[in-house]
Amino acid sequence: MTSIFKKAIQAIFLVTLPISAFADWALNMREGVTPISQKVYDMHMVSLWVVTIIGIIVFGIMFWSIFHHRKSRGVKPAKFSHSTTVEIIWTAIPLLIIIGLAIPATKLLIEMDDTSETALTVKAVGYQWKWKYEYLEDDLTLYSNLDEKSVELSQRADDVDPMEYSDYLLNVDEPLVLPTNTKIRILTTANDVIHAWWVPDLGWKRDAIPGFINDNWAYINEPGTYRGQCAEICGKGHGYMPIVVKAVSMDDYKVWVAEKKQEQDEANAASSKTMTKEELMTKGEAVYKANCLACHQANGQGVKGVFPALAGSKIATQPENLKTHITHILYGKNLMPPFGEQLNDGDIAAVTTYERNAWGNDTGDVVQPGDIAAERK
């Protein structure tokens, strides 16, 4: 608590060392890296200046009045109480101002709405709590989870301090790689509840709604890494499903797609291989952290009344429930999403083994990829 107190004092006096080593005092909207985000920024600045100028005039007159028309200066109150002329003036002027703002806003909105002639389509699917990206032309699918370091630092524990990690909660294991200088169509939808896909540098956000598909587009000018977050409350892990876009040149993008596909093929091929218990436990812990920990917690205790505990649970400890354990992971149950399509047999075998031997479960069970394949319908 003393450190909190110290930081409070630092904040009060705006002496923010060592905080300021990482934090910035960003005051304004990001200009972004697309032609649209630049125009959105300009429109934002126009409206900000309009309201600032109106504010200075209106509050200025008010403060002048407060200073001069006070009883302590011995003034006598005037008697007037209406004037149709001024009422008409101060109805007409705001009307003209908002028409002046509405015209460029309309033009910009029409431009943003034009999703024609895109060269590449990516479908972003929101899950509780991760994003799936499908590259429709390239036949490639990725799952993008919060990175392991953020997961560790985001636990409620005394020995972690996220202040040392500049990408805290804004980093993922698999970024969305997109080519620059290409009009990309980005479809958004969701698997369970409503999410929203937002990367501020692209200049917009759009809801991802289960059962419906929204279409949007982006044209990224500069290579780089652009970070964003889910922007619609979607449950416990809402703050833990960032979006990372890595923009590279078209040539690099094509190389990346080929490499990624090869990597996935190799992983799938390798996933059917039998592993030792140690291998399964190590791999299983990593898979657990990326996929299971958000609900079932690091200690396997879950959240009472919402997410069941795995430590000591019947399904994760009794031999006769091994099959149920596997099918729950493959096909989901109630709030639990199906993992069968996002994880391969090796991953599921590893995480099942891990769950049956961690946190004092100690069943000694070893589950192999072949056991998982046998349960797949």
Partner: protein
């Protein structure tokens, strides 16, 4: 004669607990509403303190994300339905009969009921925090499918909304019946005090919008338990349909919270400027225009759901149009102050702060109304800053102004002006330290309703939290001032404020248990607006 008088008293002024439980007296029920609202303000405020404590620095320190989400959700429900709305109804109960020269509300027994079901509604809501799976945690907007994942708390949430809706509708009917039937002879509609006008319009908004909310949440209930699919695409429904219905209620609701505030400020500023309200008629028309427009702008809360562009353009234009009548109101308040002879007692300070800070909230509102830019602002802390400027430094500041303004009439004593001024300055400074940096956070990219954040947002969050704690603590001073005033102090005159106008100042302070048992005779001066 003395026996008669005794019986009269005995019949009309029961003492002890019965006086409050069975009360049909508008003043007692008004007091109940106000005390209840103040209690809810502190319960909801305690939840805000938990939120600000967790957001004080990055990382999770105090609560788990699920509980954090339920704090965000229940804080909003309690502040909207438990604090601001009942406080408004309490003021209406106390002041409308006094302002229009009526002996009581038109439907006194219903008045009793509409208050006494409120504590039960909130008992249901708060009890959900202790249930299996925790309290509602999907935001006060209750969007499906997320809200349907709620466990045991779900039906309690729905029935809470129903109960609060019934209470508010009864309150609204009562206000309309009172104002249209019980005005003193000579008080035509366009001679009514502006506070009465704003409340009549608010009452119509309540009656028109709350049944829509009740319908929406009932559809949620049947989706969860009876297999319907109003909001599930898998069964042919649409989750966005809920948002349309919800915000058809939700946007008028914003003005249900704001219009009585306009009425309060329009009463207080002329008093302390010692000058009649400028543009009374245009104030009435502007209020009515805002109310009508409020039914045509709902989708600006959901620009990012992917509406057809024609819809987005319509809602953008309609939203920006609201700036016009709102601007008229602000200009009228300024013109009322212009060339007045102002003094700055606590009610006036809170009212002036209201005009400035509500206008700042209106500015960010205009920016949010511009659809292409809203795609960036939507669901960020920019929105959080916006609606706290209009609801806290707007609605709540006006309620504080009203409390100080009418406390002498309610208690018969003047409150401690020095302490009240300290309360004002602490509140005004702390609330700006609390909410102004949230504009920056939102623009920099911090989404709302997250329990933890990237370290780039650390500094402004810490400043905001410090402002939050300071604001929270300063409100304890308000409770002390109110209790001190109720217990004694300088005696208040019938006309407690030099420049005050209106019938409520013609009755003694404190206002007797029964007033205007025969209609007052209105002089010409009284009817001047």
């Amino acid at each position: 004669m003395s026996t008669l008088a005794h019986e009269h008293d005995h019949h009309h002024a029961p003492s002890g607990l019965k006086r409050w439980i069975f009360s049909t007296n508008h003043k007692d029920i008004g007091t109940l509403y106000l005390i209840f609202a103040l209690m809810m303000f502190f319960i909801g405020g305690a939840m805000a303190m938990i939120i600000r404590a967790e957001l004080f620095q990055p990382g999770l320190q105090f609560v788990d994300p699920q509980f954090y989400n339920s704090m965000v959700t229940v804080h909003a429900l309690i502040m909207i339905f438990g604090a601001v709305m009942p406080a408004g109804v309490g003021l209406a109960n106390w002041m409308i009969p006094l302002m229009i020269g009526a002996p009581d509300m038109a439907l006194p027994r219903m008045n009793n009921m509409s208050f006494w079901i409120l504590p039960f509604g909130f008992a249901l809501l708060i009890s959900t925090l202790f249930m299996n799976g925790g309290g509602p945690a999907g935001g006060w907007t209750m969007y499906p499918p997320l809200v349907l994942q709620l466990n045991d708390a779900f039906p309690f949430l729905i029935f809470t909304v129903h109960i609060l809706g019934v209470s508010s509708i009864m309150g609204a009917i009562n206000i309309i019946a009172t104002v249209f039937n019980m005005r003193a002879p000579g008080m035509t509609l366009m001679k009514m005090p502006l506070f009465v006008w704003t409340w009549v319009i608010t009452a119509f908004l309540l009656i028109a919008s709350l049944p829509v909310l009740a319908g929406a949440v009932t559809m949620l209930l049947t989706d969860k338990y009876f297999g319907t699919s109003f909001f599930s695409a898998a069964g042919g429904g649409d989750p966005v349909l809920f948002q349309h219905i919800f915000w058809f209620f939700g946007h008028p609701e914003v003005y249900i919270l704001a219009l009585p505030a306009f009425g309060i400020v329009s009463t207080i500023i002329p008093t302390f400027a010692r000058k009649p309200l400028f543009g009374y008629a245009s104030m009435v028309y502007a209020t009515a225009s805002i109310a009508i427009l409020s039914f045509f702008v709902w989708a600006h809360h959901m620009f990012t759901v992917g509406m057809p562009i024609k819809g987005e353009l319509f809602f953008m234009y309609a939203t920006m149009l609201i700036a016009v009548p709102t601007g008229v109101k602000v200009f009228n308040w300024m013109a009322t102050m212009w060339k007045g002879a102002m003094t700055f007692e606590a009610p006036m300070l809170f009212s002036i702060a209201f005009v400035i800070l509500f206008t700042i909230g209106g500015f960010s509102g205009l920016m949010l109304g511009i659809t292409p830019v809203d795609f960036q602002y939507h669901d960020t802390y920019f929105v959080v800053a916006h609606f706290h400027y209009v609801l806290l430094t707007g609605a709540v500041f006006s309620l504080m102004a009203a409390a100080y303004y009418w406390l002498p009439k309610w208690t018969g004593y003047m409150y401690d002006e020095k302490l009240a001024k300290i309360h004002f300055w602490l509140s005004a400074i702390a609330s700006n330290v609390l909410f102004f940096p949230q504009h920056f956070l939102g623009l920099a990219g911090m989404p709302r309703r997250i329990p933890d954040y990237n370290i780039q947002f650390a500094d402004f969050n810490m400043i905001s939290s410090i402002g939050g704690f300071a604001y929270g603590i300063s409100q304890l001073l308000f409770v002390y001032i109110v209790i001190k005033c109720a217990l004694g102090g300088k005696k208040a005159k019938a006309q407690a404020w030099e420049g005050a106008k209106g019938l409520e100042w013609t009755v003694p302070s404190p206002a007797p248990f029964h007033t205007f048992e025969t209609p007052p005779k209105l002089t010409k001066a009284m009817l001047e607006n």
